[in-house]
């Protein structure tokens, strides 16, 4: 396909999608019924809902009028399975297969909205017809998730209809590589994998680094417990990642990209591979893209389940067929990365930000967010919060807005105790700090990190020793075993925390735990080891009294810890 054909295709594709914008259809269809097919909704049974819809539509001979489309994740996972009926955008939640049959008969045949499946506002008690009205979506700004839940991820046409593959021809057709990098630099975009390194600076370093060929890598080895931002983007909008990678390939002069996706994400792998195949077939990947003289192709590498492979140097080792272990930096991947060649490695969310930045300009992006943290960030909201799921907010939004407004507040009327960001590498931010605006620096100042987007709400019934123990169990289990502080140190931390939680603490345990945490933070080889002790450092800093209670009085204030082994028994 060349650019002209692409424009033509975009035009046709837009026509087909008009219905979803509430406009009159031109192809005879009267309804688009979107079923959320993200992994979260799959778990709650969306496949049988979709099948029931399709069967019923067929049975009633509505195939010419109704299209049933399986989309990626829309976000509010606790409301799934979700069905949205266009042109009106009526939002049905917690739909069963029986409900689906009813929707076809009532809504699609009779034109009557099924009131019983609508979402009821917890604030006003009113029934809300469309999803943008729901509080969960109100404070969100969806740039990364712009297509998630709204298009069929297996259709390149639907991506193109929504301005997909508009940035790539613009870049290839009229921008110098330097100008592309400048636009990304201007946007202020920082790495969304967690560390927050300025993306434009990284690209520039790789462009300038001597060595050929160069590589572009997508880090899709998301592994923080409870986090699924990258999975949803890969499942729901794979082309946005591909397009971002291709743009970078042009900017840094790389012809080959790898997407490293963990094996536990089968649907993401399937959809991403389908996107690669379609893009290749459409001349948007491969040789001479859009007849504009640029070659770029992408291949998937499936990760085998090690958390540490999310660390960039470990990931590059794994792609190269070596054991997935981090190596010291410098040299950084931009100088010496995959196969020892200059490599840009960015996370899925970072890639998905690229096409809109190019389309709308770096200044547009830089106008969103705070002074040092630009744009939006996707979070996986979980824990003791009413609304769980995937949310995207402008940086600078406060934790309170996310937890209380979007999340609907703490479950069961309990009191908020803390918010854990950054997964096992982050820290627990106490409830008193809930008005902190979310940006890289503010979270770091509170002893946590932005991380890749895990956000776990902790209520008053949660024991902080138990919480720290949960994360340290994870960290020590996922340590690669290369350096001493992480291999043995995180294990020892876990063992001390276990002693505390079992009422077997020894004298000086809490101080030893803290001293050890500092040593590991300062001396471990890679980012995972260095941040592994954060859950302990942040909870001992803010909840030391809980630790002392476990250690000295052998009591757990919340009753979460077993504390079952009496000191007398432990001594035997």
């Amino acid at each position: 396909m060349n650019t002209e054909e692409l424009t033509k295709l975009r035009h046709t594709a837009r026509e087909a999608l008009r219905l979803r914008e509430g406009q009159l259809p031109t192809d005879g269809f009267e309804f688009h019924v979107l079923v959320c097919g993200g992994t979260g909704c799959v778990s709650s049974g969306c496949k049988s809902v979709r099948n029931a819809l399709v069967d019923e539509v067929t049975k009633r001979g509505l195939e010419q009028k109704v299209r049933v489309i399986e989309t990626g994740c829309l976000g509010p996972c606790n409301l799934g399975p979700i069905v949205t009926v266009y042109p009106d955008g009526v939002f049905y939640h917690k739909v069963t297969a029986d409900d689906a049959v009813f929707i076809v008969r009532e809504h699609l045949e009779q034109g009557r909205v099924v009131q019983g499946l609508l979402y009821r506002s917890p604030e006003t008690g009113q029934l809300l017809r469309t999803w943008p009205e729901i509080p969960f979506f109100r404070k969100q700004r969806r740039i990364v998730l712009r297509n998630c839940g709204l298009i069929d991820p297996l259709s390149i046409g639907e991506y193109i209809a929504r301005d997909g593959y508009a940035a790539l021809p613009r870049v290839l057709g009229g921008m110098t590589p330097e100008a592309v990098i400048e636009e990304v630099r201007k946007s202020g975009l920082r790495g969304r994998g967690g560390a927050g390194f300025p993306t434009g600076v990284k690209w520039d370093a790789a462009r300038r680094a001597p060595g050929n060929p160069k590589y572009v890598v997508c880090n899709g080895d998301e592994g923080d417990p409870g986090a699924f931002m990258d999975r949803s983007v890969l499942e729901g909008d794979p082309h946005s990642v591909l397009e971002g990678m291709a743009i970078c390939g042009y900017a840094v002069d790389a012809a080959k990209g790898y997407a490293y996706i963990r094996a536990e994400y089968p649907l993401a792998i399937e959809n991403f591979q389908a996107a690669i195949d379609q893009a290749r077939a459409g001349g948007l990947l491969g040789r001479n893209i859009l007849d504009l003289g640029f070659d770029f192709d992408v291949e998937i590498r499936v990760g085998a389940g090690a958390f540490v492979c999310g660390e960039e140097t470990a990931l590059l080792n794994s792609i190269a067929g070596k054991r997935g272990e981090p190596r010291p930096r410098p040299p950084f991947p931009a100088q010496c990365g995959l196969f020892d060649k200059p490599t840009v490695i960015n996370n899925v969310e970072t890639w998905a930000n690229i096409p809109p930045i190019i389309t709308n300009g770096g200044d547009w992006y830089a106008a969103i967010g705070t002074e040092k943290s630009k744009g939006t960030k996707v979070f996986a909201l979980a824990g003791k919060v009413i609304n769980t799921g995937l949310v995207e907010v402008p940086l600078g939004t406060t934790l309170r807005e996310v937890v209380c407004d979007i999340g609907g507040g703490v479950k069961d009327g309990k009191k908020l105790k803390a918010v854990q960001t950054g997964g096992p590498s982050g820290g627990a931010i106490p409830a008193e700090q809930i008005d902190t605006p979310i940006d890289y620096e503010a979270l770091a100042a509170l002893g946590s990190i932005m991380g890749s987007g895990g956000m776990i709400v902790v209520d008053e019934d949660t024991c902080m020793v138990d919480l720290a123990r949960f994360f340290l169990e994870f960290v020590q289990d996922e340590s690669c075993g290369k350096c001493t502080p992480c291999r043995i140190g995180t294990r020892r931390m876990y063992e001390i925390l276990t002693r505390l939680s079992q009422g077997r603490a020894q004298k000086g345990d809490v101080d030893l735990l803290i001293e050890l945490a500092h040593v590991i933070k300062n001396s471990a080889l890679c980012g995972l080891g260095q941040t592994g002790p954060n859950p302990v450092l942040s909870t001992t800093a803010n909840y030391r009294h809980e630790y002392d209670l476990h250690a000295l009085e052998k009591k757990c204030p919340t009753g979460a810890c077993p504390m079952r082994i009496k000191p007398a028994q432990a001594r035997k």
Binding site: R323, R327, E478, G481, T484, Q530
Partner: protein, 581 residues
């Protein structure tokens, strides 16, 4: 090369650009502790003992992997750094058996030394969980005790980087990690070639040779046994090191005296059968050249190399000389020729070897090595095991007189001696082959092109109009390079290739003193050539005992008896062993 200025502990220093902070500090006489670093071989930043404080850095980087940069300000021993190092060491000790008193490395252990240097007097993580990995004593030469392993990765780096074998690597992960063959196979079933380069660099007692001193003590104490010993060319320039002598000091006469003091009935020299190997092997070469045999011929006296080619280049086995190694020729003759001469029943003879090599233990146990009708070589001791015996017996090598080897199996030439250094077999073979082929005396005995520590060397020797092209490789990674070329048909114009498994040849073997480095290798090689220079005879075919051996017993080179006693065959082994059942 461009230089960089930085400050370490308030001392300004200017070093080359690629230098690490660790090396820069060393150049100032500041010693930063490390348990994993091996210059150019293992710079992985695993142990984290060498952490330093760098102004402006978020954490303490490891100085072994940190390149210097302009204006860097480094402090190597701040209270924070020292406390962190101490705690890291405590962590290691909390996962270590701490059986120092009965460990093979007692007194020569880097972990022990570090605990002392850093003044660790308590381990606050004691009585917490420890890894439980069983000892692997499946190997005939090398024993692994993973519980003692401190994960420095030196063995992994040497096995892959120097030897290109990759027999061991990290398996599993986190606290359960174990350095082992793939699939946690026993070493005996792996591609390990028994070279022992790993145990030379192990900082602790996690890998070591199979100690067979007990069976030697038992044989020596048994009046019914006639115990003969042979000493390899390379042991005479390293044995002195354990007694405080500089590397490369030849201690041949004192070693002979010491072995007699231990009670060996005869003290013989592997140099004698090295001469014999040369006669057989050069005749084999000339025969292949004359009769269109498979060329280039490759030497076969290094048992680590032999197992390597059996695993990785089975199709090239026809290139390997069928001549046995000097150790095995000796064993076969000791229990036939010598038994007859001395009137001793071969069943009563115990042949002990003192070798610079761990792979020789494996070689002696190969089923092919019983051509005397008995196991030809009964026990193989490494240089280190002999040191242990001498120390236990209270023999101080430095205070012994020089004594002579026994005849006839103790008579040798300088050509036999240089077997111990890389290029030595080639040089010895060329000295003989030239004279056998041309019938004329060799104009220049020293063939310097094949000497030295360069990984791959080559030379062309003019055999009176016939140019003979030879190659020499040492260290299996270099051997692999040559084999790849040979496989690709790029070495067809060459006639003879010498391969030594270990870097530097046998003077750098896995049975030599722990901690062998390039400087040690260089000095030992000098020692070897000094031995050669001081010999009256320097060509194997001029060895009178060898001449008499052919006249009285063997007949002729490559003859029927030679074929039976002095030649062998090889086994095809898998390059990718996996668990069966």
């Amino acid at each position: 090369m461009a230089t960089v200025k930085l400050t370490i502990d308030n001392n300004p220093v200017e070093v080359e650009q690629e230098t690490t902070v660790l090396e820069a500090a060393r150049s100032l006489g500041i010693s930063i502790p490390t348990l994993c670093h091996l210059r150019e071989l293992n710079q992985v930043g695993a142990c984290r003992m060498c952490i330093v404080e760098v102004e402006g850095a978020r954490s303490y980087p490891a100085s072994c992997t940190l390149p210097v940069s302009e204006g860097m300000v480094v402090r190597t021993a701040t209270p924070g750094v020292r406390a962190a190092r101490k705690m890291i060491l405590e962590l290691i000790l909390s996962d270590h058996p701490n059986e120092c008193l009965i460990c093979i490395r007692n007194g020569h252990c880097e972990l022990q030394a570090a605990a002392d240097t850093l003044g660790v007097r308590e381990v606050r993580f004691q009585r917490m969980s420890r890894r439980l990995h069983p000892k692997d004593d499946s190997g005939s030469a090398v024993i692994r005790e993973p519980q003692k392993c401190i994960y420095c990765r030196r063995c992994v780096s040497v096995c892959a980087g120097v030897q290109g074998v990759e027999a061991v690597g990290p398996q599993l992960r986190g606290f359960s990690t174990v350095i082992a063959p793939p699939y946690n196979l026993p070493l005996a079933e792996s591609v390990c070639v028994n070279c022992g380069q790993c145990l030379l660099v192990c900082p602790v007692g996690a890998i070591y040779e199979r100690d067979e001193t007990a069976s030697v003590w038992a044989a020596l104490a048994d009046p019914a046994k006639h115990v003969v010993v042979q000493t390899a060319p390379a042991t005479r320039v390293t044995l002195g090191e354990a007694f405080g002598m500089p590397p490369g000091t030849p201690v041949t006469g004192k070693m002979v005296a010491a072995l007699r003091r231990l009670g060996f009935d005869r003290v013989f020299d592997t140099d004698f059968t090295a001469d014999l190997t040369i006669v057989e092997e050069s005749n084999e070469l000339l025969n292949r050249m004359k009769n269109g045999g498979v060329l280039p011929q490759i030497t076969s006296c290094s048992p680590g190399w032999v197992k390597f080619i059996e695993h990785f280049y089975q199709d090239l086995l026809p290139h390997l000389s069928t001549s046995k190694s000097p150790q095995q020729m000796f064993g076969a003759l000791a229990k036939t020729y010598y038994a007859e001469e001395a009137g001793v029943d071969p069943a009563d003879i115990v042949v002990v070897s003192v070798m610079p090599c761990t792979a020789k233990k494996f070689e002696a146990g190969r089923p092919e090595m019983q051509s005397s009708g008995h196991r030809d070589v009964d026990v193989v001791l490494t240089t280190r095991e002999l040191v242990r015996m001498l120390k236990e017996a209270g023999i101080d090598l430095t205070r012994l007189p020089d004594e002579e080897y026994d005849a006839p199996l103790g008579i040798s030439t300088g050509a036999g001696a240089i077997f111990g250094a890389t290029g030595g077999v080639m040089e010895a073979a060329l000295r003989t082959a030239y004279e056998v082929a041309t019938g004329k005396p060799l104009p220049k005995v020293d063939i310097k092109e094949v000497r030295g520590l360069e990984g791959i060397k080559q030379a062309v020797i003019d055999f009176e109009g016939t140019p003979v092209k030879v190659l020499v490789a040492h260290g299996l990674r270099h051997a692999r390079t040559l084999m790849e070329k040979l496989k690709a048909g790029e070495l067809s114009e060459y006639h003879f290739i010498e391969v030594m498994c270990c870097p530097g040849g046998c003077i750098g073997g896995g049975g030599q003193p722990i901690g062998t480095d390039s400087e040690d290798r260089r000095r030992r090689i000098e020692g070897i050539y000094r031995v050669d220079k001081n010999m009256k005879l320097r060509k194997s075919h001029e060895n009178p005992a060898v001449i008499r051996l052919y006249a009285d017993f063997l007949g002729r080179p490559l003859g029927e008896k030679s074929h039976r006693l002095l030649h062998t065959h090889y086994v095809r082994r898998s390059a990718h062993p996996v668990l069966t059942e």
